[in-house]
Symmetry: D2
Subunit: 104 residues, 4 copies
Amino acid sequence: MPLRDYQTEIDDWLQNYKQPYWTPLSQLARLVEEVGELSRAYNHKYGEKIKKDSEAPDDIEGEMGDVLFGLICMANDEGLDLDRAIQGAISKAKTRDKDRFEKK
Amino acid sequence: MPLRDYQTEIDDWLQNYKQPYWTPLSQLARLVEEVGELSRAYNHKYGEKIKKDSEAPDDIEGEMGDVLFGLICMANDEGLDLDRAIQGAISKAKTRDKDRFEKK
Amino acid sequence: MPLRDYQTEIDDWLQNYKQPYWTPLSQLARLVEEVGELSRAYNHKYGEKIKKDSEAPDDIEGEMGDVLFGLICMANDEGLDLDRAIQGAISKAKTRDKDRFEKK
Amino acid sequence: MPLRDYQTEIDDWLQNYKQPYWTPLSQLARLVEEVGELSRAYNHKYGEKIKKDSEAPDDIEGEMGDVLFGLICMANDEGLDLDRAIQGAISKAKTRDKDRFEKK
């Protein structure tokens, strides 16, 4: 499904609520929380952090989904199109940064 | 374009390089850096931070694109499908969290 | 107690372990996780996030302590003196940034 | 200098301004921005990120100072004592977590 359709699906759903979108800095804080949870999962898998017995198994896919969900909400609230945003980032990687790393 | 196609396009491009993907914790650090730049842009727009004269105008769309680009690289390197990830997050919002906020 | 003494106390304690300090990017990931928990606590207190019934009460002091603990470990491992670091930041606020905000 | 004295010095200075402390979520966003800059510096030093020619040399001590400065502002605004906070974190490391890692 295209990114734009996810943006629409989430917006349609959130319109059922009195306050569809939190204030921007509150949404940002949520994104940071989700990035923190992704960090914990990465640290368990790739770093030296040892999971506590009481902790649920990590779910990197789930944490990435939460980060992306938060980002989509922020883009919706800003009226921004994430397809354009990612196309811009890809285009930057292929032009400005194309010689920054060693080629095969 | 579907998320999966962005994942493929980025992977195809990165395969031109000797080390297509950084090590996982290095990719995570890059994501955190991009989230930091998005935070600065939000703080200029919605918080009390005043832009320095020397700073370029903020570009929230661009910062979101960079965050998403970093996330796609991480998902590619993990062999994860972001379509599944975001569908899982949407489904969680519509079930587990559906009564967490006040409806219209 | 001076910051330097906290740095020493933590280092003395960590020297009891086989690997006193995690690798740097793993320490960074831990710091990000702690900042994420502080974000959640702030979002509950100041944002629109509603605490789940299953969540423990927030403890902003505790989260700040965890962030600071992580930062001290990183400084120790880098051989850096946080007293110098904070004095530098204070001095920057009092000189470079002194006219950036409206005075009383 | 004790942490408490840094808290006082920063508060004394900020009282010269009309709005000594930004709103809490704006302060949090600033902290995240600073953690992002520390991440970039770590990624240059320990990860695979290659510095652009246009970038200033990294200054890990400076970035740590900025993170700590942001944290002190947040603690001041919350009326929290960072000495208590760090002592709590140290005490947790020495009790709850003391057997979590392998001893020498």
